[in-house]
C-alpha cells in the first residue's frame, strides 16, 4: 500500500512538469492554430541552459529558470519570424499540416545541433538539496521535485493572471478567439502571434530547467517530451491553463500507477493508450467546456 501511495506521490510530482511542458504547446496551438512538434526540443534546450549554467557558473537550476526562459523566448521568436510566420495567413487545415512538417524539420535540426555541440551523454544537475526528502503520509517527497512542482504551478498561475488581467494577455486571448476581429479593434495581430510563440517557447525553457533538476537531459529527450505534452493537451483541452496542469498531474499519476501494476517498462504505454482512448471518445479534451 505504501509503495502504491509512493507511486501516486511521485506521479503527481512529475505530472506537474508534464502540465508545464504542455501549456506552452497548448498556448501556441490555441492562439496560432499551429502545432509545434519541436516543443520537446525547445524543452531540451532549456534543460541544457540550466545544466551549463550550473556546471560552468554554479547557478542553481531554480535560478536558471529566468535566463533559460529568456533565451528560449528569443529562440522561439526567431523560429517564428524565420519559419512559422509565413503560415500565419494560410487556411486552417493547411496551416496545421505545414506547421507539423516545419516543426518536424526544426526538431531534426535542433536535435542534431545538440548532438554536435554537447554529445549524446545524459546530463543531470545534482545540487546540494538533491538528496533531501520530506515525509508525507508514509511516502517520501524529494524536496527538489516538490520545488519543481511548486515552480511549475506558480509559472502557470502567472501565465493565467497575465492572460486574464494584463492588457497584452487579453489581446492574446482576443486574437485566439478571432484574429480578424482582433485586428479590426486595433490589436497588432502579427506581434501577438510572435509573442505568443515566444511565450510558448519560454515556457518550454522553464520546464526544461526544472526537468534538469530531476531527470536526465540529452539531445534525444525531445520526442518523448513532445508526446507527453501532446497527450496532456488532448486530455486537458486547448486553452485552459489549469485544466492542462490538472491533466498533466493526472497523466503522471496514471503512468506511475500503471507502472506499479504492470511493471515500469509499461508506464509510457499506458499514457499513450489513455491518450488514444480520450482522442477517440472525447476529442475536445476531458475538461473542455462545450
Amino acid at each position: 500500500m505504501t509503495v502504491l501511495w509512493q507511486n501516486v506521490v511521485f506521479g503527481a510530482l512529475i505530472g506537474g512538469l508534464y502540465g508545464l511542458a504542455a501549456v506552452g504547446l497548448s498556448l501556441v496551438f490555441g492562439v496560432l492554430n499551429m502545432l509545434n512538434v519541436a516543443h520537446g526540443e525547445l524543452l531540451m534546450l532549456g534543460g541544457y541552459a540550466a545544466f551549463w549554467l550550473f556546471t560552468l557558473f554554479g547557478v542553481d537550476p531554480f535560478v536558471s529558470i529566468l535566463p533559460s526562459a529568456a533565451a528560449l523566448f528569443v529562440v522561439g521568436l526567431v523560429l517564428y519570424r524565420v519559419l512559422f510566420e509565413r503560415l500565419a495567413s494560410a487556411p486552417g487545415e493547411t496551416k496545421l499540416k505545414n506547421s507539423i512538417l516545419i516543426g518536424f524539420g526544426v526538431s531534426l535540426v535542433l536535435q542534431t545541433l545538440a548532438l554536435i555541440a554537447w554529445t549524446a551523454d545524459e546530463r543531470a544537475v545534482t545540487t546540494a538539496a538533491a538528496g533531501a526528502v520530506l515525509p508525507l503520509g508514509g511516502a517520501v517527497v524529494p524536496v527538489v521535485r516538490l520545488g519543481a512542482l511548486i515552480v511549475a504551478f506558480l509559472a502557470l498561475g502567472g501565465l493565467h493572471l497575465f492572460l486574464r488581467r494584463a492588457r497584452f494577455g487579453r489581446a492574446i486571448r482576443a486574437t485566439a478567439d478571432d484574429p480578424g476581429a482582433a485586428s479590426l479593434v486595433g490589436i497588432p495581430v502579427g506581434t501577438v502571434f510572435a509573442v505568443a510563440f515566444g511565450l510558448g517557447s519560454a515556457l518550454a525553457g522553464v520546464a526544461g530547467a526544472l526537468v534538469s533538476t530531476t531527470d536526465a537531459v540529452s539531445p534525444a529527450i525531445g520526442l518523448s517530451w513532445t508526446l507527453k505534452a501532446l497527450i496532456v493537451v488532448v486530455l486537458g483541452g486547448v486553452g485552459h491553463v489549469f485544466g492542462t496542469f490538472v491533466a498533466g498531474v493526472l497523466l503522471g499519476v496514471a503512468e506511475s500507477v500503471s507502472g506499479f501494476f504492470l511493471g515500469n517498462a509499461y508506464r509510457e504505454v499506458m499514457g499513450l493508450v489513455l491518450f488514444l482512448v480520450v482522442l477517440s471518445v472525447r476529442p475536445q479534451g476531458l475538461f473542455a467546456r462545450e
Partner: protein
C-alpha cells in the same frame, strides 16, 4: 503520335532492366548494397507517399507497419517458412493492421491523425522492446549461406510494385477520387466521392507496402533488436525522402531515395554523424521554398515554364 511508345514508359522499362541486370553485370558488393539501400528506401518512401502525398494524410506512425511486416516476416522465416511465404504473411499482417488502425484514426480530425498514428507506433515500439528484449540474429547456417542477390531482387520487386501503385494512383479513378478528397474533403463528398473509403483504401495500400518493405529489411539484416524496426526513423526517413524528392509525385521517392543514400554516404565520410543536420535543413528548405522537391526542380530545368498536367501535382505549401 499514335502507336509511339511514350518516352516515360520506355525509360522506366530501361531503368527496371538495368536494376534487374545489375547483379549480373557487377560483382562489386559495395555497389550492390548501395543499390539495395536505394531500392529499399524508394519502396518505403513510396509506400508513405501513397497516403501522405497522394492522399494528403500525414501519417507519423508509418514505422508501426514497417515494424509489423518486419517482425512477422522475420519470425516466420527464422521459424522455417520459405521467405516468399513469410514475406507475403508479413505484408498481409501489415495490411490488416492498416485497416484495423486506419479505420478509427482516419476519423480523427486535423492534427490528431498525425499524433494518433505516432502514438500507436510508439506503443508498438515500447511493447515490442519489453516483450522481445533480445537481439534477433541469423543462425550460423543461414549466415554461411547469406547472399545479397536474393535480397536485392526482392527490393527491386518491391520498388517496382509500389512505384507502379503510385503510377496507378496518378491515373486511375480511385486516385483522382483520392486527390479530390485531399484538396477539399467537403467538396469531394458533395460530388459523391466517399472520403473515408478513399482514405482507408490508401491507408491499407500504404501500410501493406510498408510491411512488405519491412519484411525485406528483416530478410536482409543480419541482426537487429526487434524494437528497432518500430523506431521513429522508419517514419522520419521516408518522410524526408518523399519531401526531398517531390511529395505526391510518382518519381519523387526514387529521386529522393537516391539523393538521400548518396548524400548520406558522402556526408558520413566527410563529416560523420551530423549528416542529419543537412537533411533537416534541406527538408525545411523544401517544405518552405520548393514544395515540388527534386522532381519539380528537374522538370523546371528541362522545360522552363512548362508543367505537365498529367501527373498529380504536389500540394502547395500554403
Amino acid at each position: 503520335m499514335r502507336g509511339a511508345v511514350p518516352l516515360g514508359a520506355l525509360s522506366a522499362a530501361c531503368g527496371v532492366a538495368a536494376a534487374v541486370l545489375l547483379p549480373v553485370l557487377t560483382t562489386n558488393q559495395a555497389l550492390l548494397s548501395w543499390a539495395f539501400l536505394v531500392l529499399l528506401y524508394t519502396a518505403l518512401a513510396q509506400s508513405w507517399n501513397l497516403l501522405g502525398g497522394f492522399g494528403g494524410q500525414v501519417n507519423l506512425g508509418h514505422a508501426a507497419f514497417f515494424g509489423l511486416g518486419a517482425l512477422a516476416t522475420r519470425m516466420l522465416w527464422l521459424g522455417g517458412a520459405p521467405v516468399i511465404l513469410a514475406l507475403a504473411a508479413g505484408t498481409g499482417a501489415a495490411t490488416a493492421a492498416g485497416i484495423v488502425i486506419g479505420a478509427p484514426s482516419l476519423r480523427l480530425r486535423g492534427p490528431y491523425f498525425a499524433i494518433g498514428t505516432l502514438a500507436i507506433a510508439e506503443i508498438l515500439r515500447i511493447t515490442t522492446g519489453n516483450v522481445l528484449p533480445d537481439v534477433s540474429s541469423l543462425p550460423a547456417g543461414d549466415l554461411a549461406r547469406y547472399a545479397l542477390a536474393p535480397r536485392y531482387y526482392l527490393a527491386v520487386f518491391a520498388a517496382v510494385t509500389i512505384t507502379s501503385a503510385a503510377w496507378w494512383l496518378a491515373r486511375s479513378r480511385f486516385g483522382h477520387g483520392l486527390a479530390a478528397v485531399r484538396e477539399d474533403e467537403a467538396a469531394a463528398e458533395a460530388i459523391g466521392v466517399g472520403a473515408f473509403r478513399h482514405k482507408l483504401g490508401a491507408f491499407a495500400l500504404s501500410s501493406g507496402f510498408a510491411g512488405m518493405t519491412g519484411g525485406i529489411f528483416a530478410y536482409y539484416h543480419v541482426s537487429f533488436y526487434p524494437a528497432f524496426v518500430f523506431s521513429p526513423v522508419w517514419t522520419f526517413d521516408p518522410l524526408v525522402i518523399v519531401y526531398l524528392g517531390g511529395v505526391g509525385t510518382v518519381w519523387g521517392p526514387l529521386a529522393g531515395a537516391a539523393f538521400f543514400v548518396v548524400l548520406q554516404e558522402v556526408l558520413s565520410l566527410q563529416v560523420g554523424e551530423p549528416h542529419l543536420l543537412v537533411f533537416g535543413l534541406l527538408f525545411l528548405v523544401v517544405v518552405i521554398a520548393a514544395p515540388g522537391g527534386l522532381v519539380e526542380a528537374l522538370r523546371a530545368l528541362c522545360r522552363p515554364g512548362a508543367r505537365r498536367p498529367a501527373e498529380v501535382g504536389s500540394p502547395p505549401p500554403a
